[in-house]
Subunit: 337 residues, 2 copies
């Protein structure tokens, strides 16, 4: 691989001039610029990023901390996967590469600095966190560090940290309103884990809209799941045992909604005839299962672009991190309501 010295020698100029051609072309004369560029193309010269990073401390890489908790395989969650790939393309348009970080080999498996160390070693310009809500100390260590940091679908803040979430409350409200408009008056909900913030917000919005419409929500009509299929099935089974049974259910996640539909069918009932179901997330299955799951969609592409933009703002060197971004949610009508 040819170095900058080699290129400089061939052009009969100094290394400084070559460097300027690539970094501040406007201070180099037309003539020299052409010469250097031409020769660079000819011998296939490419600046070495490691050397640049060493000198400038900017790596043009964003570190991704993903799925830190191996006991809860968040990586299987299609929603998070969609966000990941959206993030990658958004960063690409800014010329940033995404480094999926392995924990630092010098740190033990439980070391709270295992990701922070990896971040520091690699001189990444910023960090994005995608995780399924486990309050892993290794993640919190990042949030408190001085590296610019953006958390996706998690409410983390810090001196250099902001976050992106959907308008979960608005989405919950959307779901309730839709069911009310469809004429339902006895509506139950399958919510997420109590300590999960997005889940709590969805429930809060849902509650508000019901209250505004003067529709009561009994405690027994609120059942918690864990966002995965089986919990939705179990919760729905419980709800079907109620008397009178609810005519509609809002599940705070699509997988749980699918589980609920399964339970309803197994009870010999029909969707949406006997019980209407609305979900949240709009993952791929939502469109594929019959009769099609009506759901509140989250803007996965928006997560990616918002994260990239927040990061760019912080890289530009603002004093305080940008405000958290809240992405609008919208209703997707399908056959289940």
């Amino acid at each position: 691989m040819s170095s900058i010295r080699e290129l400089a020698r061939r052009c009969g100029v100094s290394v400084a001039t070559v460097s300027r051609v690539f970094n501040t072309p406007e201070v180099v004369s037309q003539q020299t610029r052409q010469l250097v560029l031409g020769m660079a193309a000819e011998i296939g010269y490419l600046p070495n990023e490691s050397a640049r990073t060493l000198a400038t401390k900017k790596s043009h890489m964003v570190g991704l901390v993903w799925d830190t908790d191996h006991r809860r395989p968040g990586w299987r969650h299609p929603f998070l996967q969609d966000i990941l790939v959206a993030l990658k393309s958004a960063l690409s348009t800014h010329g940033l590469h995404l480094l999926m970080l392995a924990p630092d080999p010098g740190a033990g498996p439980g070391d709270p600095r295992r990701f922070l160390r990896a971040v520091q070693r690699h001189n990444v310009d910023g960090v994005v966190i995608i995780d399924n809500g486990s309050r892993d100390p290794a993640v919190l260590a990042l949030v408190d560090a001085e590296v610019p940091c953006v958390a996706l679908d998690l409410r983390f803040t810090g001196p250099n940290c902001t976050y992106i979430t959907s308008d979960n409350a608005g989405g919950g409200r959307l779901a309730a309103t839709h069911l009310i408009e469809r004429g339902h008056r006895h509506i139950a909900t399958i919510t997420g884990p109590a300590r999960n913030w997005p889940a709590a917000q969805r429930l809060a919005g849902f509650r508000e809209a019901l209250a505004e419409a003067g529709i009561p929500l009994a405690d027994d009509d609120v059942v918690a799941g864990d966002f995965y299929l089986d919990s939705g099935h179990a919760a729905m089974t419980k709800l079907l045992a109620r008397d009178p049974r609810p005519t509609a259910v809002f599940a705070a996640g699509d997988e749980m909604a699918v589980g609920a539909i399964k339970a309803i069918r197994e009870a010999g009932l029909r969707v949406p005839g006997d019980v209407a179901v609305i979900g949240f997330d709009d993952i791929e299955v939502a469109a594929l299962i019959p009769p099609g799951l009506t759901t509140v969609t989250q803007d996965k592409t928006g997560f990616g672009t918002a994260a990239a933009e927040s990061l760019m703002a912080m890289l530009a060197g603002t004093a305080t991190p940008p405000e958290p971004t809240t992405l609008p949610t919208t209703l997707i009508l399908r056959g289940s309501t």
Copy 2:
């Protein structure tokens, strides 16, 4: 950030000794090692990877080239997403980080070297290609380069390139055998694009097994799709118009299988009563749609670990790339057959 010189000064040793403590600890005396390690922990010293890479030309990063063709958004395919995350964790266990490469900013959008350039600039130790089969020149440029390279679910070979695929022919055979055992004698298939190698292999295996059982396969019972849902629906519609109509269908991808099921239902027929359906891939939906899709599963985790191992072998410096890996496929029984 404290440097190696700072640490050496504090310990009263030379930088060479400190470097040895981290790279070849066995040549350093117990005593000094303890001293250096202790002081390193105290002042929070971490070796700078950019500097190491500059000196050693090993970055401990694997470049990922993902979804090069924006007209065909392969990133939406759940199967590829599953492979991606499996790859990430497999590499983690080897202490390798995964760098999702953006095209080199110095190259135009159509430049066939836009990924190769990014690879070279960043000194990545190897490259993994995950792509939806578009024969993008920018991908082929990588395959022909001297950087170790592994292609996933693509049949690419080169001087330093090997690939991982499933036993697609075996999977096709599995599907056929299963349907035959279930008593079907008129079996159709929805295959993938003609030029797609995995699709062709699945079809070949399927054909063989039918032939061995003495069951004919009419040309009209073979319809091509493009792996996406709608094409499966369209293909099935065509097949249902046949007289007599097939009693079972093998779809070479789960999304197409789901589309087929939809078409069958819309025609007022039942799965598996009137038409049995078997898919390929085992994506998430397969388990979620009623009645559950019987399918041939690909080992996504296996893709990740095999890729990591092939890469490790090449990094160890073998003369020739390792043989391509073929991962076994297995039958997953669910309700659709």
